[in-house]
């Protein structure tokens, strides 16, 4: 009798997942990705009306996008603002991370929370706040104004990956360099920075993407002179029908793919350097 009872004990491999769960998970991924893929299909259709499925194949939407001066200036505004924001935020974030991760001084926890706090402030609040303040500085509708507004927003996204990288860095390497006669600056430039570089670049890419994709603050402060790509897209989605948005969406999907591959590559490099990959 006892033997039968043991045999009846239902042994389930914890790694096994039943088909209902697979269906749920598969549908979830389908739900996440398919609407965007539909846009890709639509982007190769006509440029007069957006249709699905497209009745003919053409690159008209792309051609129109690249020929349109207003869109081109929006793209260049966005690229410039996002790149400069990424540079400023990464420099500030790298310095702050060095101090916060390795430093021993009072108020560190508070400063850390303070630096991460722009992540949780609602964008509409920031939009209004920057409108009210930039008006006084006469910086409304300027690219400088946008960089000022995006730097605090991007800062946490540089500090998080850089801090995580620094925590995995073996400081004995620095001590060795200092012992061999290098000064602190040389040690940082020749030893520390090259090793943590993938983490720093990851932070810079995040900062770039935050600034490149931001629309709510832009609605308030970019005026009519510094229109960014998201702001222009917003206007088109909201107020007019311009049938090249699927093409723009496809290009942004490509950008996302490039970013995904880059970050994956950087994480790999980092894992190898930190010796835990």
């Amino acid at each position: 009798m006892k033997k039968a009872a043991v045999k009846k004990t239902y042994w389930h491999d914890p790694m096994h997942v039943g088909w209902p769960l697979w269906i749920v998970a598969g549908s979830a991924v389908f739900f996440l990705i398919v609407p965007i893929l539909l846009l890709v299909v639509m982007s190769f259709g006509s440029a007069e009306i957006i249709e699905f499925p497209p009745s003919r194949f053409s690159f008209d939407q792309y051609r129109m996008f690249f020929a349109h001066p207003a869109w081109q200036s929006a793209v260049s505004n966005s690229l410039l603002v996002a790149s400069l924001t990424a540079v400023v935020a990464t420099v500030l974030g790298l310095m702050a991370s060095l101090g916060l991760v390795w430093g021993k001084f009072k108020g560190k926890g508070f400063m850390n929370a303070f630096i991460l706090s722009p992540m949780i402030v609602p964008l509409i609040v920031l939009g209004l706040a920057y409108y009210v303040s930039l008006v006084k500085l006469d910086l409304l509708g300027t690219r400088l104004g946008l960089i000022i507004a995006y730097t605090p927003l991007a800062l946490p996204f540089t500090v998080l990956p850089i801090s995580a990288t620094l925590r995995g860095f073996d400081r004995r390497l620095e001590h060795a360099a200092l012992n061999l006669g290098a000064n602190r600056f040389q040690t940082f430039m020749k030893i520390t920075l090259p090793i943590i570089r993938p983490g720093v670049l990851t932070g810079a890419i995040f900062a770039f993407m935050i600034a490149f994709d931001e629309v709510v603050i832009a609605l308030f402060i970019c005026g009519s002179d510094a229109i960014t790509l998201p702001k222009k897209m917003w206007d088109v989605i909201r107020y007019e029908i311009e049938p090249m948005l699927p093409a723009i969406s496809t290009l942004l999907l490509l950008l996302a793919l490039v970013v995904l591959l880059l970050i994956g590559f950087l994480q790999n490099r980092l894992a190898k350097r930190m010796g835990n990959g």
Binding site: H12, M15, A25, G99, G103, F105, P118, Y130, P152, L260
Partner: protein, 292 residues
Amino acid sequence: MSTLIPKTNGKNQQQRAALRQFLLVLPALIALLLFFVIPIGSIFVKSLFDPDLTFKHYIYFFQNPLYTRVLWITLQISVLATLTSLIIGYPLAYVLRRAKPTVRSGFMMCIVLSFIISLLVRNYSWIMVLQRNGVVNMLLTTLGIVEFPLKMLHNKIGVMVGMTHIFIPYIVFPIYSVMTGIDLSLEKAAQNLGASRWQTFWRISFPLSLPGIGAGALLVFIMSIGFFITPALLGGRKEQMLSNLIQIQVVDLLNWSFASAMSVILLAVTLIIFAFYNRYLGVERLWGGVKL
């Protein structure tokens, strides 16, 4: 020999090191003070002085049923969006944890891709899918399931679909990262001791994954309270949230002081929830398991 290890020994040296490290943080603090704290402070001031010190904007907000109702709708939509993303995100994380590496990385790639692609593109894609002559209605009518196109845009369905689509990755990453830390042999042990699969899940796997659920749900809740884009693009009149009302006050009514007061209220609600989050889960968890 003592110079071999540049460890700080004297108290003086320690203080100098601390000062040096603080000076590294200082530029970020100054930048935040100038470009983050002062601007937010200025709307705080604007909400209180019109032109003399007054609380009338706050009193008006809480006395006017229109605004308290929007506050209520905002909280309602946020709770609903958090729940739907949990209901879809949790099983997804569960399967990811147990899937073969190839399947897992394929799924992960889709999730991360939808996570980094422009927010506007994600919402725009749903307009194309859900609108009157959109993809879903086209399928339903050609298959003869419905006679007339369904209205799925500019109502609650649109907002919920759009927000859930955006929030799922924020739910999946922290839950998945907590799940990878759970030793699966615990489940085997539970089964050895006679627990059924169902019991094993509810008494072992689920409670152990609760920290991930808490982190993801609170993060999504905080984000959705201040949400603006999705209600504006996919919602109707009844789904306008606090953020949308603030924008209307500014753009259409030019009522800066009242918009500022509403912003301060929105910020206060967010901070209260965040304080809760920080107390129980810690800010670092926001970073969750975003690993590729």
